[in-house]
Amino acid sequence: MPPVVDVHKCSGCAPREESRCEEVCPGDLMAVDIAAGKAYCRNPRDCWDCMSCVKACPNGALATRMPYQLGYFKARLRPVMGKGVITWKCVDIYGKERTYKYRNRIIPDT
């Protein structure tokens, strides 16, 4: 299911020509509504849930949601991108939270 856009957090990445999610989506699905200045997904059925847009969003405004037909309300999974490290926070439908943090890239010493 496509990312849900938190319109209070989304800035449409103004004044960039493309928002970060629009720039990165492998399916060309994310776009910005010019009038509202907010990101949206142009075709929810085509989303692969790769979470590239969620990782790219500088405002934490995007969240991938499980389609209800497949999973129950409401679990959350949020990536936080660090330098050479990624942290994932996952909350299941019972409110149980788990955090995963590990190295995702070797940064050479400079």
């Binding site: 990165v24 999973g71 299941d92 995702n104």
Partner: protein
């Protein structure tokens, strides 16, 4: 600047072809598709020939495009100490039931494999090691990585190599100069422009073809693309060549994998990586039924099909039994998932599932044509040149050489770059035929020029095709089985779809891309059906199951099935090529 800037979609409402701008770009080497293989083509070509003008035409954004966009949790092949490239080929051969496979290609890939994976590590990919600093193997050949950044790591190197990247340009067709390829055309999916890339050689590395078949989760709202293969790799790379008469091989050896049920996630991660056995509803170890074929180490198609056979026999559902795992192991497994298919972790959380109490359910995937995994793709020579002069293939598009996976696609990118460089040496630029360019432009833009008339949306035709292929050409709803009559039915309706391309309609550049993708899917599907028809035996149950010919028939079919679509008549003919064994040893074991 080596990455051309992209913008958000513009208003695009042309009334005639003349209004649509054509942008011509000249280069020496054109790479269609900047994925796993394509990035390696660029890096290798620029390393060997620093003045070479290399252009990458990329449908998405190279930093997060294609099958690796979500990341990866393992490199499935890396030759350990004490083993040889020949050993890897023997394993690959046994995994596809003794072949046929192109042992010549497989061997040359294997010889370059480790140095290609070492490149990735040098570029910043974390490869997991044990306390002694030795690479941690999770199976016989596969090693664990923290590959969340795999795609940006490869893409940054391709950009740094000096290749010029055109993001958001979708390849539509090859351009010819007589019999020789002179470049390729692309559709700008943001600016609506028609791109003409003129090149001395073209490497097609567009990934494979997912979305030819219906996924069993597709009927749920907002779940149209819950598939294993990247749903944006739709077979355009195969379609470009087949429309020009290129020879394709082994499309009937479809890739079907056992995946987690209801939300497609990897299963080898748990069954191989964490020794979680496959069990049926009675708790019986499913692979023990296949002890004579190797049990847990049985060929990949046997392992993929086994849970489905349990369902058919009334012993489903099936599971990967994770109930023995301790907390530390579960954490490591979740990290693997987060690296490759993060949303599967969200899925488990949305089921409220504790995998130490409730095992992970598994089921078969929809079928794919992916030459990096099974054999389907272009017939290529050792230089990775297809049967079209000047057109090379690497990764999922190059056929006959299964079990390449990430590492093998890296290696093949290098080999295709070397092949293309050797081909270009001493060759002059051949200008593409002007009429040919205009014909391609007219074909690509017809859906948007006809937008005011009543017609068919690309998604409608895509879903019609997916349903047809699923039910008649051996999809998951039919437990992968098909027969001559069903294939003839599929073919008849594929022909009807082709005759209705002229009714496709598109309102904007994105939908125009979808219209072109759907035409590509239909053309590739026709070839797949012809291949399935031609192999009148069952060689790889699950991957290829003929209920009217349930046995393997070595006397007639221990060979490759090939196809070629006549570019003048549009008729697809099939024929065979012999299987040539190079690596000694028993075919069926390794």
């Amino acid at each position: 600047m080596s990455v051309m800037p992209t913008r958000r979609a513009v208003r695009f409402a042309p009334d005639s072809l003349r209004e649509i701008p054509t942008q011509t770009v000249d280069c020496d080497l054109l790479i269609v598709g900047g994925g796993n293989a394509g990035c390696f083509v660029a890096v290798e070509a620029r390393r060997l020939a620093p003045s070479l003008r290399v252009v990458i035409m990329e449908k998405a954004n190279i930093m997060r495009s294609g099958a690796c966009s979500a990341g990866m949790d393992a490199i499935n092949t890396y030759i350990p100490e004490g083993k040889t490239p020949e050993d890897l080929v023997r394993w690959s051969r046994a995994q596809v039931g003794g072949g046929p496979l192109r042992e010549d290609l497989a061997l040359s890939n294997a010889e370059l494999l480790n140095e290609s994976v070492d490149d990735l590590q040098r570029w910043g990919l974390p490869i997991l090691r044990d306390e002694d600093g030795k690479i941690r193997y999770r199976g016989q050949w596969d090693i664990s990585i923290h590959g969340e950044q795999l795609k940006p790591i490869m893409a940054e190197r391709a950009v740094a190599s000096g290749a010029v990247v055109y993001n958001r340009v979708a390849g539509t067709g090859l351009l010819m100069s007589g019999r020789r390829c002179a470049g390729a055309a692309g559709l700008g999916v943001r600016d609506g422009k028609f791109y003409v890339f003129r090149a001395k050689a073209v490497v097609i590395s567009t990934g494979g073809a997912g979305t030819l078949y219906k996924s069993y989760t597709a009927d749920s709202t907002d779940s149209g693309s819950q598939i294993w293969m990247c749903p944006y790799c739709v077979g355009s790379g195969y379609a470009m060549g087949l429309r020009r008469g290129a020879e394709l091989t082994s499309l009937e050896q479809r890739w079907v994998a056992t995946r987690t049920k209801d939300f497609c996630g990897p299963v080898d991660t748990i069954s191989v990586g964490y020794k979680a056995p496959i069990v049926n509803c009675r708790g019986e170890r499913v692979m023990s039924r296949y002890a004579h074929l190797g049990g847990d180490a049985a060929p990949r198609f046997i392992r993929a099909n086994a849970p489905m056979e349990e369902w058919l026999a009334g012993r489903g559902p099936c599971y990967c039994d994770t109930r023995h795992m301790d907390e530390k192991t579960v954490r490591a497994m979740m990290e693997d998932y987060l690296n490759e298919r993060p949303s599967f972790v969200l899925f488990l959380a949305s089921r409220g599932q504790d995998v130490t109490r409730e095992p992970i359910e598994i089921y078969g995937s929809d079928p794919y044509i992916v030459g990096g995994h099974t054999g389907g793709g272009y017939w290529v020579d050792m230089a990775r040149m297809t049967t079209l002069e000047g057109v090379f293939a690497a990764g999922e598009t190059a056929g006959g050489n299964p079990n390449k996976f990430v590492g093998g696609c890296c290696a093949e990118g290098k080999l295709a770059a070397r092949g293309a460089l050797a081909y270009m040496r001493g060759r002059e630029f051949a200008p593409p035929d002007a009429e040919d360019i205009e014909r391609e432009k007219a074909r690509v833009y017809a859906p948007v020029l006809g937008r005011a008339q009543e017609g068919v949306r690309p998604v409608e035709m895509k879903e019609r095709l997916q349903r047809l292929m699923d039910e008649y050409a051996g999809g998951v709803s039919q437990f992968y089985r098909t027969n001559e009559e069903r294939l003839d039915y599929a073919l008849r309706h594929v022909k009807m779809l082709q005759s209705q391309f002229r009714h496709l309609r598109a309102e904007d550049p994105h939908e125009l891309m979808q219209a072109n993708e759907t035409m590509d899917r239909v053309d590739v599907a026709e070839a797949v059906v012809q291949h399935l028809k031609a192999r009148k035996e069952t060689r790889w149950p699950g991957w290829q199951t003929r209920s009217d010919y349930p046995e393997r028939n070595d006397a007639e079919f221990d060979c490759f099935i090939e196809s070629r679509r006549n570019p003048e008549t549009g008729v697809v003919e099939t024929f065979t090529r012999p299987y040539e064994r190079i690596v000694p040893g028993d075919r069926y074991t390794a």
